[in-house]
């Protein structure tokens, strides 16, 4: 089963707490030996608002298995439902919509399709995990065990940084980057190597802006990423 099957996290709720928990729950399934794992993006029970559904798509498109799924008794939550401008409490950019932000996240996932496919095959052949907390690869770093719902490794080459606990805009959220050099892939596809994070001397927090349109994926040094 662990080699061929996928699974999802069950009937969750459209609450921000469930979004953060979905990250940690997918980590757990990596331990169980089910790497191809996901959850109902935007939540199954309850009504999802645009801000929650958008952020859940952003982090969800980094999940191994990504699917928006809803109960029929709740309000619609397809990406096109939220095609209205970002309000002032989540962003300063009012010229784009939640739908625009979700579209960007989905396109980013498809840009990484070759990488995802390769990582899944590699796991199928060799075992291992795909969506994992930092301490899986940086076990000697005590900081890698903290705030695991915002910092995630995506296969061997990428790190995701997503504010999964707060939907309001923030000019500075601390994300942890372990020892190494990390260069942005998202939002600077293919990359802007002038904005690399040099933590070659040791791991540290990096403060990044978190408006609704902001989430981050960095390539790890020593990696070759197909796009």
């Amino acid at each position: 089963m662990q080699k061929y099957a996928y699974h999802w996290l069950g009937d969750n709720w459209s609450w921000v707490e469930y979004m953060a928990d979905s990250v940690k729950n997918i980590y757990e399934y990596q331990l169980f030996g089910l790497p191809f794992m996901g959850c109902d993006l935007c939540g199954f029970n309850g009504d999802a608002a645009g801000d929650l559904c958008t952020r859940w798509h952003q982090v969800g498109t980094l999940f191994p298995f990504a699917r928006n799924h809803n109960q029929n008794a709740t309000t619609d939550q397809e990406p096109y439902v939220f095609n209205f401008s970002l309000p002032a409490n989540v962003s300063d950019n009012h010229s784009i919509t939640y739908t625009d932000v979700i579209r960007t996240a989905i396109r980013n996932r498809y840009t990484l399709t070759r990488y995802y496919y390769s990582q899944f095959w590699k796991i199928n052949e060799e075992g291992g995990s795909f969506f994992k907390p930092l301490f899986f690869d940086f076990g000697d770093d005590a900081e890698a065990y903290k705030i695991i719902e915002k910092n995630m490794l995506i296969g061997n080459a990428l790190k995701g940084s997503v504010e999964t606990t707060n939907l309001s805009k923030s000019e500075g959220v601390d994300f942890y980057f372990p020892q190494g050099t990390w260069c942005p892939i998202i939002p600077h596809m293919p990359s802007n190597f002038n904005e690399c994070i040099d933590h070659s001397a040791g791991g540290a927090n990096k403060t990044l802006r978190s408006h609704m349109e902001d989430y981050y994926v960095h390539i790890r040094d020593g990696s070759i990423l197909p796009v």
């Binding site: 070759r114 496919y117 390769s118 095959w121 590699k122 061997n156 080459a157 190494g180 050099t181 260069c183 892939i185 293919p190 990359s191 190597f193 390539i219 790890r220 040094d221 020593g222 990696s223 070759i224 990423l225 197909p226 796009v227």
Partner: protein, 64 residues
């Protein structure tokens, strides 16, 4: 067409077993391709190794 984003580092060369020398910096990755149509997928595995060497006859880089 597939592009490669390569971010080498110095420490990678220490653990590298694909080559018999230690490069100044290197990067590695694995790609899998299939034919996209058959039920029993015809999968090709491609291991990519990039190295940069600055000693001796001058700086050079290569992708294997």
């Amino acid at each position: 067409m597939t592009d490669l984003i390569i971010l080498p580092n110095a420490s990678n060369g220490i653990n590298n077993t694909e080559v018999d020398y230690r490069p100044d910096c290197s990067a590695k990755g694995t790609l899998y391709f299939d034919d996209g149509v058959s039920y029993k997928k015809d999968v090709t595995k491609l291991q990519v190794f990039y190295s940069y060497i600055s000693e001796k006859l001058g700086a050079n880089s290569s992708i294997v």
